[in-house]
């Protein structure tokens, strides 16, 4: 494939990854920012979203779009409910102590994985996309007498992948509106800025925390439902999104939602584009080191104002 179309294809692929990553990472960023705790089980909430999506889609049956549509609503809500319950029964009782939260969420990670293995099993299972047309894409090149449009071999995407990007944008705008334009968003931001002060002003911080933890997990689950027709639901699928979300949240600057989204786009795209130039594993090594060095020389992240 020529260089131009190849780069375009890699960028498109990167954009799909970035879209899903943005949702998952914004969820983690909310929890991180407002509650100041590291949720190691965040990736497992992602996994739960995918597994529940499979379960809902198979139970509903009928046209793929129907099952998928129901899953899109039900799975994130269920996951959010589970997360909120965990917050109230465990995290609240250990008073959100950063270190103990890490151990507790590692424990939660084991529990969720094992329960999924015992009920859903070890297989990777696909969910049928609601629509999935292959779209060949054109490219332009200089030929004698000016620009010429042609259809390069292999340059294509699917309608579903484009829809994932669109859906992620819509959801992120919704989160932004929630945070910036609603009363509950105001309470969350107040809690994030100063917990003591928020308490003093009579903000129900405990309920806000449960809400934020549920919302964060729900966003991860939503990202998973969107991705499950492209990838598959598998009980070990949570590790990668967890690592990538951590990276994105830190690079984006702690507590900065626009920063998180920008970082997700940056990391998603660079993952696609670097693979054009280097052998794949070398590309991963370089991308990983790049992230580390960005943090070393800009410890606040690229867009963050707060120290982490």
């Amino acid at each position: 494939m020529d260089f131009g179309p190849y780069l375009f294809l890699a960028t498109l692929e990167g954009a799909v990854g970035a879209a899903v990553l943005a949702l998952t990472a914004v969820g983690l960023s909310l929890v991180f920012g407002v509650m100041r705790v590291v949720n190691v089980a965040h990736g497992e909430f992602f996994m739960l979203g995918a597994v529940l999506a499979w379960w809902v889609a198979t139970t509903v049956g009928g046209h793929p779009a129907l099952g998928f549509g129901v899953a899109l609503l039900v799975a994130p809500v269920l996951v959010a409910g589970i997360a909120a319950a965990v917050d109230m029964t465990v995290l609240k009782r250990i008073e959100y102590d950063p270190e103990r939260t890490i151990v507790a969420t590692i424990g939660l990670l084991y529990i969720l994985q094992q329960v999924t293995l015992m009920t859903y099993g070890p297989d990777a299972r696909p969910v049928e996309p609601p629509f999935n047309a292959r779209l060949a894409l054109p490219w332009v090149e200089w030929a004698e007498g000016g620009l010429r449009m042609y259809w390069p071999w292999g340059l294509s995407t699917t309608s579903y992948k484009l829809a994932v990007i669109g859906a992620a944008v819509v959801v992120l705008l919704g989160v932004w509106a929630l945070m910036a334009r609603t009363r509950i968003g105001l309470l969350m931001r107040a809690t994030q800025l100063d917990r003591e002060m928020a308490l003093a002003f009579g903000i129900p911080v405990e309920r806000i925390y449960a809400l934020v933890f549920g919302l964060g997990a729900g966003l991860a689950a939503l990202g998973a439902v969107l991705v499950v027709p492209i990838q598959q639901a598998h009980y070990l699928m949570g590790a990668d999104p967890l690592l990538l979300s951590f990276i994105v949240v830190i690079i984006g600057g702690l507590g900065s939602l626009p920063g998180t989204v920008l970082a997700a786009v940056l990391i998603g795209l660079s993952d696609g584009i670097i693979s054009v130039f280097f052998s794949p594993t070398l590309a991963k090594i370089l991308a990983t080191l790049l992230v580390a060095l960005v943090l070393v020389f800009r410890p606040r992240g690229l867009f963050g104002a707060q120290a982490v």
Binding site: P64, L117, P122, P126, R134, G154, D240
Partner: protein, 428 residues
């Protein structure tokens, strides 16, 4: 292999034997071994991948093993002793694998260790097997045994290794599918074995590998790598493993659209996966290596039929109780056959207890021909006692109307290569 020691006990006899075994278990250690000669069960420590990345395989390895044990015990056990499986999860992790072997040898008093699939678990556990002097029968298809890396206590008598499988494919690929090949494989040892052995075998066939595309093991999306496939590729050779394979195949289909090269893959990619899954329609007309044909063929042997029934697998390679539960049919026969090799070896050696472990290994090393039978339902095999590795037929199948039909069966000769080690020169 002799049947001279085997009696065919009645049901009552078997119960009496078990009762004596239970009584023996309460005796002190030294007395137990004296008793063992006649009554205590033969204990096989089974390393299962119940959790971790190997779990889909582990479940079916377990089912096949249980079925083989039921059959062997129904036929009178080994030397008149019942076979007992002591299963422990190794989490598909080499450190835990080594610990589990210690548990078998030192705590459960197992006679042998058995059943490991994933190469890193085998390699992490094998040194301990050698030190514990525990015969260790692996079902891994890795080249680690025959490469000479391991030790005299580690054997692979139930499944051919990847070097055999890969080189046996090259003649068919070069003659029937095309001479210009591009390989896509995971960037770790298993993938590197495919890369090296297949490239060499293609050279020998006058073919050529145009490009080798290594995919990082943690990758979950693949489209971005496909433009690296040269346009004049005639055959695409793929061998992805892990939960992302469905994505891989699906994206491959979306990339090529209507115009694709011939595609040849290893069923490892799709073990435990339904060929009729949404998104896999693209595989129609492509070719697969199969260790053992998943779908019952028109010329199905009575052995395969009986083996399927014993394990509980239907004609489509799925569980009889759940048609959505697809087996790892191309690999799991290795558990069945290995347990029968253990039985034959123990009977030939007159195995009475852990003191006879060396004799058991020598008896297995002395084996050569393993005829096609109910004990070896996948096909006839030839065991090489020096390299501790077995060689057998391989199958190439084509996806036709959503099922795999065998189009070629290689000879055992195609899988042979020159010895890289002679374990029989090592002391016990």
């Amino acid at each position: 292999m002799t049947d001279r020691m085997t009696s065919t006990p009645t049901r009552r006899g078997a119960i009496k034997t078990l009762g004596a075994g239970a009584a023996a278990a309460s005796l002190p250690l030294w007395a137990r071994y004296a008793q063992a000669q006649t009554s205590a069960p033969v204990k096989v420590g089974f390393q299962v991948h119940s959790t971790g990345i190997g779990a889909a395989y582990g479940r079916w390895y377990d089912r096949t093993t249980q079925a083989a044990v039921a059959k062997i015990n129904a036929e009178g056990g080994i030397n008149g002793r019942m076979l007992e499986i002591v299963a422990e999860d190794d989490g598909t992790d080499p450190k835990r694998g080594a610990e589990v072997l210690e548990k078998f040898a030192n705590q459960h008093g197992c006679d042998v260790g058995f059943g490991t699939l994933f190469s890193h678990v085998v390699i992490g556990s094998a040194p301990r097997a050698g030190e514990l002097k525990l015969p260790y029968f692996v079902v891994s298809e890795g080249h680690h045994v025959a490469s000479g890396m391991l030790n005299r206590y580690t054997l692979q008598p139930g499944i051919t290794d990847v070097k055999s499988q890969v080189q046996a494919m090259a003649p068919y690929v070069a003659k029937t599918l095309g001479k210009k090949v591009t390989m896509i494989f995971p960037d770790f040892a298993f993938g590197h074995d495919h890369r090296d052995y297949f490239t060499a075998a293609m050279d020998a066939q006058g073919g050529e590998v145009l490009a080798q595309i290594a995919i990082p093991p943690t990758e979950t999306s693949f489209t971005k790598y496909f433009p690296k496939i040269p346009r004049d590729t005639e055959v695409l050779y793929h061998v992805m493993v892990g939960p992302a394979v469905l994505t891989f195949v699906k994206e491959l289909g979306e990339f090529f659209g209507p115009s694709r090269p011939e595609i040849f893959g290893f069923i490892d990619s799709l073990e435990a996966v339904d060929i009729a899954s949404p998104g896999l329609e693209f595989l129609e007309g492509t070719y697969f290596w199969e260790g053992n044909p998943r779908y019952a063929q028109a010329d199905q042997t009575e052995y395969d039929k009986a083996y399927r029934a014993a394990v509980g697998v239907d004609d489509n390679g799925a569980s009889v109780s759940d048609p959505k539960d697809i087996s790892t049919y191309a690999h799991m026969f290795g558990c069945w056959e290995t347990l029968h090799v253990i039985k034959a070896g123990m009977e030939a050696a007159g195995y009475a207890g852990p003191g006879d472990r060396a004799a058991l290994i020598e008896a297995v090393e002395a084996m050569t021909e393993m005829p096609h039978s109910f004990e070896h339902p996948q096909g006839a095999k030839v065991f090489n006692g020096k390299t501790h590795q077995v060689f057998g037929h391989q199958y190439i199948s084509r996806v036709e109307a959503g099922r795999l039909n065998v189009v070629h069966k290689t000879s055992i000769k195609d899988t042979l290569y020159s010895d890289e080690v002679d374990y029989t020169t090592q002391s016990f």
